[in-house]
Structure formats: C-alpha cells, structure tokens
C-alpha cells in the first residue's frame, strides 16, 4: 500500500525557502506569484493491505519522527485519495 505524507511548516512560521522561491519566480517574470510555501512529500510503501491500519501507522510515523510538532503540521493521504 502506498501512503503519501505531507509535511509543511505551520502557518505563521517563517519559510525562508518559500520566500526565496517567491522572489526568484517573480524575478523570472511570474509576477502573479503571491506566495510559496515549501513542504515535504514522502511516498511510503507499506507491506499492509488494510487502508485504515496503513493510515494509522503512517500517522504514528509522523508523530514519532517525520514531523516536528514545534514548527510543522502533517497530513496523511492514501494513494487512492490522490486521484
């Protein structure tokens, strides 16, 4: 089973990388860019057939390791949810 984990900075936490990208994009002529936030996207393959169990395990991984609760939020999506 494939799980997607999204990790992004909490709202309000400054994102230097996103800010730099925003500036670079505008400099390249993409003036319509208002903001960029950079996050991580982990694709995890699990030896687990049950969607709910897989989801719960992935959430546990986020709690235990993948996200830093001081600055980051996470979201878990099962493959099929991503069209």
């Amino acid at each position: 089973m494939e799980v997607s984990v999204f990790i992004q900075l909490k709202d309000g936490v400054l994102d230097p990388e996103g800010e730099t990208l925003r500036q670079s994009l505008r400099r390249l002529g993409f003036h319509e860019v208002d903001g960029v936030r950079v996050g991580k996207h982990l694709q995890i393959s699990l030896a687990e057939d049950n969607t709910e169990r897989a989801r719960r395990r992935a959430e546990q991984m986020c709690e235990d390791l993948l996200a830093n609760p001081v600055i980051e939020d996470y979201q878990v999506r099962m493959k099929e949810e991503l069209s």
Partner: protein, 257 residues
C-alpha cells in the same frame, strides 16, 4: 539550579577524581574527534566516546553532543539522531541534573529530543555558513558560562546550514514579553564585535539573534558556535575555553556543594 545539577555534584563530592567527559558519536557526527581532542589535550581531563546505539552512558560528569551531520541531517537536522537509544540515557542523565552540552548538530539534536525548547530551521540565506561570529553572553549563571563576565563578547566560528532558531510557537511573537515567556534561557546572542545585537550581526536569521539556549535549570546547553574550534591559540582564537573552563570550574567549586 545548583541543586538540580546534583547528580553530577553528588558524584564529584565523594571522589577526588577530575571532572570527566563523554563525547557522543552518531553515524555522521564529525566534530566528535575535535571535542575529544580539546578535552584531552587542552583541558587535560578524562574523556571517552559513547556510541549512538548504547542504551546507557558511562559514569561521567558531562556529556558533549558534538557537531556534524548525524544521519546525513536527512529529514531534519538532528531528527534521526534524536531517536537513537543513547538519547534516552542522556534524557535521564539530564533529568538527574547532569551537564549536557550540544554543539551545532548537538544543539539541533537536543531541540529534536525536546531537552531544549524550540527548533532550528534552515538559515535565511539558504546557504551553509562557515565563519567567525561574535556571541554576547546573556546569562552567566549557568555551568557553561560562569567564567564569563555579564555581556562578555566571545569570538567563535559557526558552521551550519540549519541554525535559524525558532522558539516554540506560542512564544514566537518576537516581543519582549514573548522572550520572558520563552521556556528556556537565552544564554548567547549573535552580536557585533562591540557587543551590539542587531540584524546586521545575525548570520542566520535566528529569532532574537539567539545563538545559545539552555533549559530552565541551566544544566543543558545548546549552542551553534563551535567552542572546540577556538580553544587553542594556533587556531586564531581561544574564546571557546571560556565555555570549557566554566564547566570545569563550576564542577570543581560549586559542584562540590
């Protein structure tokens, strides 16, 4: 604070042996040998290495978590190292008042472990920065800084990609009150050679120019500058010795109480 550092002092009281150190080695640590060298050859104190997989730490008075790229700094700097067995032992050691010094990656690991508040994000310039900086000592009442004068300026090198300190979110507004609320203690701030703290002298965008932080009790310190890189005259500076000497002095004098 002295009271809470009693585990270390308890040991010191009943033995006359010199203050002893352990340097933790994670896969990817790369300042471990440098710290070891300073303790052994400059401070001339007993020192040993402890591997990341050890569930226990030896009977020492201070644990140093050195700089480097533990686990390649993959995911987040310090995140993977923070989950290794030895950190459980260090947590207990710290809870008992033991002295823990995290330098650079060590600081990142301590934040990830929760032994220090906050997080270290990527430098605002999105570049690794290796250069000399100045750090003003904001708090001389810790075992790591007691040899310094209030507001003393130390000249030290930094070398990191993720040194941009963020306090826990509820304290992150940047106001004076927020700093009061900050659940750790700010021990050092980046500053000009003259001791002035401003954006100009902040190399990485750190909140409130924070360069070094300790826990409330003062027995766990994280700092981005590398004292082990400036503890010998030959290396163009020896201000790092203020940190190491503070430790030894604290242990030899106050630690006995």
């Amino acid at each position: 604070m002295r009271g809470s550092a009693s585990a270390a002092s308890g040991r010191a009281a009943d033995s006359q042996s010199p203050m002893s150190f352990a340097v933790v080695v994670f896969p990817g640590s790369n300042c471990d040998r440098d710290c070891y060298h300073v303790i052994r050859e400059v401070l001339r104190r007993p020192v040993c290495y402890v591997a990341h997989a050890e569930p226990q730490i030896p009977d020492v008075d201070c644990v140093i978590i050195p700089g480097g790229f533990s686990y390649g700094d993959y995911l987040r700097a310090g995140a993977l190292a923070a989950r290794s067995p030895v950190m459980g032992a260090i947590r207990d050691f710290a809870a008992g008042g033991g002295l823990v010094l995290g330098i650079c990656n060590g600081f990142q690991i301590l934040c990830e472990t929760g032994l220090l508040p906050g997080a270290l994000m990527v430098n605002t310039a999105l570049q690794f920065i290796c250069r000399w900086v100045h750090m003003r000592i904001e708090d001389v009442n810790t075992p790591f800084t007691r040899d310094c004068k209030p507001n003393q300026v130390l000249r030290m090198p930094i070398a990191h990609y993720e040194g941009n300190f963020r306090p826990p979110p509820e304290q992150g507004t940047g106001s004076a009150e927020a700093e009061d609320l900050f659940c750790g203690r700010i021990v050092g701030r980046y500053c000009s050679p003259g001791g002035e703290v401003s954006d100009n002298s902040n190399p990485n965008g750190s909140w409130s120019s924070v360069a070094a932080v300790s826990n409330r009790e003062g027995n766990v310190l994280g700092m981005m500058p590398h004292p082990e890189r400036c503890s010998e005259h030959m290396l163009k500076g020896s201000d790092g010795l203020y940190i190491f000497r503070s430790l030894v002095q604290w242990w030899e004098e106050d630690g006995y109480e």
